[in-house]
């Protein structure tokens, strides 16, 4: 009879769970329907204009490095009265000064305070304090079914004092990110809010996801595809996931790479087997300049040349030959590797199959 009791208990819990789910559905339904009451004769009743305008003051357009198929713009938002800006860590930020343009037409430069390679986020600090900002301590938790507003400068539509774009949507799921960029698993695989607003567009990454009350829910993520379905994902990283890291960066501490996301590969990539010789590593931070590419080697076939400067490996910034060596240890020879190199004044993306 122990069997039966066990089954019974299990089924009970299933029923309980179902009750719970039903209740949540009922609650979310009524919340959604309540928002419908705003539909009345007035053409603008129930307008999200208030949340849009409120959010616009906090959202910024960021301009930095770009070229050869890479966009030179993305979105970000103020997170402190001192002018800290949260955005995604990308090649756009690979300049000395990132240009910040606010929706009231303000234009000033900013510098990168620090980055979190695990969350692929960066915190910038602008010269000017903002008129208004999102307080990470007052952020909201996104619930499934909740209505949301996404603010970003997707496609770089807005310029100068023009307002960034506003999109409406619903939180479709709270789940762990199972995504990839090109052939690679995305670095961040933690919890995300999946939304039905089409935010997976150039320039949208770094934008803000808020509730209809204007409370911050998360930061719009980079352009990624779902690993299973191969579809482009519209998602945001919840504030609860990034708050600790952002605070650490803002307090001046650097955020290291965690074991979780960086596992040394079984068969790491080695430069000499690729046919690449770097310039002699004599400084603490010798740049990863290629001295020589062996003719006929994998590197040569992929299009690498001598004098190329390796800037990024699989979107990870390469600040010196040492970091490059570290990074290569985590890449398996079975995988493709994407290098962003600088050749003269040109940026180039090169894919190698080691």
């Amino acid at each position: 009879m122990a069997w039966l009791a066990w089954w019974h208990a299990l089924l009970r819990s299933v029923i309980k769970f179902m009750h719970y789910r039903l209740q949540t559905v009922v609650v979310t339904c009524s919340i959604q329907l309540l928002t419908l009451t705003v539909f009345a004769e007035d053409t603008r009743l129930g307008s999200l204009n208030g949340v849009a305008i409120g959010g616009e003051l906090k959202v910024v357009k960021l301009y930095g490095a770009g070229g050869s198929g890479l966009d030179a713009y993305q979105s970000g938002f103020f997170i402190s009265a001192e002018g800290h800006i949260l955005t995604v860590w990308s090649t756009v930020l690979d300049v000395d000064e990132v240009v910040v343009v606010t929706s009231d037409g303000g234009r000033f430069s900013s510098t990168v305070v620090g980055i979190d390679p695990n969350l692929e986020l960066a915190v910038l600090k602008s010269e000017e304090p903002p008129t208004s900002y999102f307080d990470l301590n007052k952020a909201a938790e996104g619930r499934v079914g909740q209505r949301v507003v996404a603010l970003s400068n997707l496609y770089g539509i807005a310029t100068g004092s023009e307002m960034a774009s506003v999109q409406k949507g619903v939180v479709m799921a709270r789940t762990s990110l199972n995504a990839r960029r090109g052939a690679f698993e995305s670095i961040y695989q933690g919890p995300v809010l999946v939304i039905d607003a089409m935010t997976n567009n150039p320039g949208a990454a770094g934008g803000a996801l808020t509730t209809l009350d204007g409370a911050l829910l998360g930061m719009l993520g980079k352009e990624l595809r779902d690993s299973g379905a191969n579809t482009w994902l519209n998602y945001a990283i919840p504030v609860s996931e990034l708050k600790a890291s952002v605070e650490q960066i803002m307090s001046g501490k650097s955020v290291g790479r965690t074991q979780l996301t960086r596992i040394p590969a079984d068969r790491p990539v080695e430069l000499n087997t690729l046919g690449v010789v770097l310039i002699p590593n004599i400084l603490v931070k010798t740049p990863a300049f290629i001295d020589l590419v062996e003719p006929g080697s994998k590197a040569a076939r992929a299009g690498l040349r001598s004098d190329d400067l390796i800037l990024f490996v699989n979107s990870i910034r390469v600040s010196s030959q040492a970091t490059l060596a570290e990074e290569l240890k985590t890449i398996d020879r079975a995988d493709e590797m994407t290098l962003l190199i600088q050749r003269g004044k040109e940026l180039k993306e090169i894919v190698i199959s080691p």
């Binding site: 039903l22 309540l34 807005a158 004092s161 023009e162 506003v166």
Partner: protein, 634 residues
């Protein structure tokens, strides 16, 4: 206990659970009555909006886009890139499942708008146009149309969204097309939605959907659609009714923003009207066409929505002082550029040339088999492209209802260079001729008219004598005369009182012989007439403008559509000269024999913005050959 018992017990439990689940799921959620009412209201608004939304196809069922009916007699708006793909004769599907014929009326290739006319009814359901300057970011909106040509029953699809941005400027995509001051929305707008309306929550049209940002996903909605603003359409609607290929405006000056974020004139053509009105290099532009100019982009946005030939107010600031100039706008393109572009199908070549179209085709559709690069290369990086449905047209509305009435349609299509459909120009001119006749039967008037009166507010006597080849004017002791055998442009260039005689002679000719016999005439559409002291574009009445070539001069008559009476006569001389302007007001009854004739008693002569003379007429004789003086008697 046997395994069998376990299973049956298990089944029973599962059954209970399922039952419990079902009974719960069947319990309806008790909704607040406000919610139900609001929902019902939205359903009603959308149903009404859908009734005015149409699907548009070519004769062969190809093409495929959307549109919206704006007048009960069937005038409807769509995108130029939709109408050009369908040809001059279209088939339009209504929400009720009926299919009617439609013909092209006017084309604005630059703004990507076409006006078409649905045939066969005078009680079409319509949608009102909103004031799109009042549209705000974040407000709800919904798109109606026929995305992917899905609706085989012709009922429009509705998609709800919000306004994501206003005053967006989208550069020409390798064509004439320019989307200025458009509305950005996240309401799903897909190929096939082109030309369809974007509504606000009250069911007013705030824009015409026409373009999207596309990128890696191909030609499907990515949450960024653009609609041409309703206000731009309102400016152009009555111009499109002229059946012409209409053009957008340029100022003849460029602007740039300085460090203080002021928008300053950075370059100006000295042959432009703007220059003649006093606009100079370095002037700060504060407002254009009643709207505040904050940035170079807003300047471009506002200018991009204005029609060629319109006069608009520009408020400028110079040395701390503001003043308002009324500037006549020039066109962006030459007439030839427009004809060539439309003939080449720029901005919307048909996915495949409509069959059986050649026989009745208008001028714009010749050689329209230009390849559709956008379609061939759907994943062009970050491209914004017009939303033409080229793919799934095989399921389009074929055989849904009666055959197209080709005979009727052919009678309403008339090809002529520079026109989308000359038929509608003729129609408007006939209408205006009829209106003019309501002023009186001037055919009975003689070849010589005399009139007398006073300078307004003065005691100076004025007398005017209009004969066939000459005219004369005396103001107090001063006398002026003109000879119509000499170049009229010299009279215009002299900027004197002779201009009044010229304009009044033109009016005499218009009333006595009618516009058709006077010279080659064209109906231009409705333009604002600044008859009062107000310089607000919004406050000006828009009058029908009839243009006639008379001797060597171009004469434009503005006619008040309410009264059918001319309100302004403009006589243009050479390029770069201000035209003569004579404003006509206070129509009174004067007599010719036993007939009552309506004629203006107040005349205002003006060049540029400065009135030169104001006359109150006391008597008019329309037959001075037989009765040399005084009012006509019985």
């Amino acid at each position: 206990m046997s395994m069998r018992t376990y299973y049956s017990l298990l089944l029973a439990v599962v059954g209970c659970v399922t039952f419990e689940q079902l009974s719960r799921a069947a319990d309806p959620v008790k909704l607040d009555s406000l919610v139900v009412e609001a929902q019902q209201q939205r359903v009603d608004v959308m149903r009404r909006a859908a009734s005015a939304t149409i699907s548009i196809f070519g004769l062969d069922g190809g093409g495929g886009g959307s549109g919206v009916i704006v007048t009960p007699d069937g005038y409807a708006l769509t995108n130029y890139h939709v109408s050009s793909a369908c040809g001059d004769h279209m088939r339009c599907g209504l929400d009720d499942g009926s299919l009617v014929d439609a013909v092209i009326v006017g084309i604005d290739a630059t703004g990507d708008v076409s006006l078409i006319k649905l045939l066969g009814r005078d009680d079409f359901p319509t949608a009102p146009l909103a004031d799109s300057d009042e549209v705000r970011v974040g407000q709800w909106c919904f798109a109606a149309g026929n995305p992917f040509v899905l609706a085989t029953n012709l009922q429009p699809s509705i998609s709800l969204g919000i306004v994501s941005g206003v005053n967006r400027y989208q550069y020409p995509a390798g064509t004439l097309l320019e989307y200025a001051d458009c509305i950005q929305t996240d309401a799903a707008v897909n190929p096939g939605n082109s030309g369809g309306p974007l509504f606000d929550l009250s069911g007013q049209v705030i824009g015409i959907n026409g373009r999207c940002s596309f990128e890696k996903r191909g030609r499907v909605n990515v949450g960024v659609g653009y609609a041409i603003s309703a206000n731009q359409i309102k400016y152009f609607m009555d111009i499109l009714r002229s059946g012409r290929l209409v053009d957008h405006a340029t100022l003849g000056a460029t602007v740039s923003t300085d460090e203080a974020a002021e928008v300053l004139v950075s370059n100006i053509l000295n042959g432009s009207d703007a220059y003649r009105r006093g606009l100079r290099y370095g002037d700060e532009i504060v407002r254009l066409a009643d709207r505040e100019v904050k940035t170079t982009n807003t300047f471009k946005n506002i200018l991009g929505t204005l029609p060629k030939d319109w006069r608009v107010p520009i408020e400028i600031r110079r040395n701390g002082e503001t003043q308002t100039l009324l500037v006549r706008l020039d066109g962006v393109h030459t007439e030839k550029q427009l004809i060539d572009a439309v003939a080449a199908g720029l901005g919307g070549a048909p996915p495949k040339p409509p069959e059986g179209h050649g026989q009745e085709g208008g001028p714009e559709q010749d050689d329209s088999e230009q390849d559709d690069s956008e379609k061939d290369d759907p994943e062009r990086d970050g491209s914004d492209a017009p939303l033409k449905e080229g793919g799934e047209k095989e399921q389009a509305a074929e055989g849904l209802e009666g055959q197209p009435d080709k005979k009727l349609v052919a009678s309403m299509l008339e090809a002529r260079a520079g026109f989308a459909n000359y038929y509608f120009n003729r129609l408007k001119r006939e209408e205006l001729s009829g209106q003019l006749q309501s002023l009186g039967d001037f055919t009975a008037a003689g070849g010589r008219w005399t009139m007398s009166g006073l300078l307004a507010g003065e005691t100076t006597e004025v007398a005017m004598d209009l004969d066939v080849k000459s005219a004369s004017l005396s103001v107090g002791q001063r006398a002026t005369a003109i000879d119509l055998d000499k170049p009229l442009s010299d009279i215009v260039a002299a900027r004197g009182e002779g201009g009044l005689l010229l304009a009044m002679r033109a009016l005499q000719e218009l009333l006595r012989t009618g516009p058709e016999k006077m010279g080659a005439s064209t109906y231009l559409g409705r333009f604002p007439v600044y008859a009062s002291t107000s310089t607000k574009l919004r406050e000006q009445p828009r009058h029908d403008v009839l243009q006639t070539l008379w001797y060597d001069a171009q004469v434009r008559f503005s006619i008040d559509p309410k009264t059918g009476a001319p309100s302004l006569i403009e006589v243009f001389g050479d390029v770069g000269q201000d035209p003569v302007e004579v404003y006509l007001a206070d129509y009174q009854t004067f007599r010719l024999g036993d007939q009552e004739m309506q004629f203006p008693s107040r005349l205002r002569l003006q060049y540029g913005m400065e009135p030169m003379m104001l006359i109150d007429l006391k008597s008019v004789s329309f037959d001075s050959t037989s009765r040399p003086s005084g009012e006509a008697t019985e």
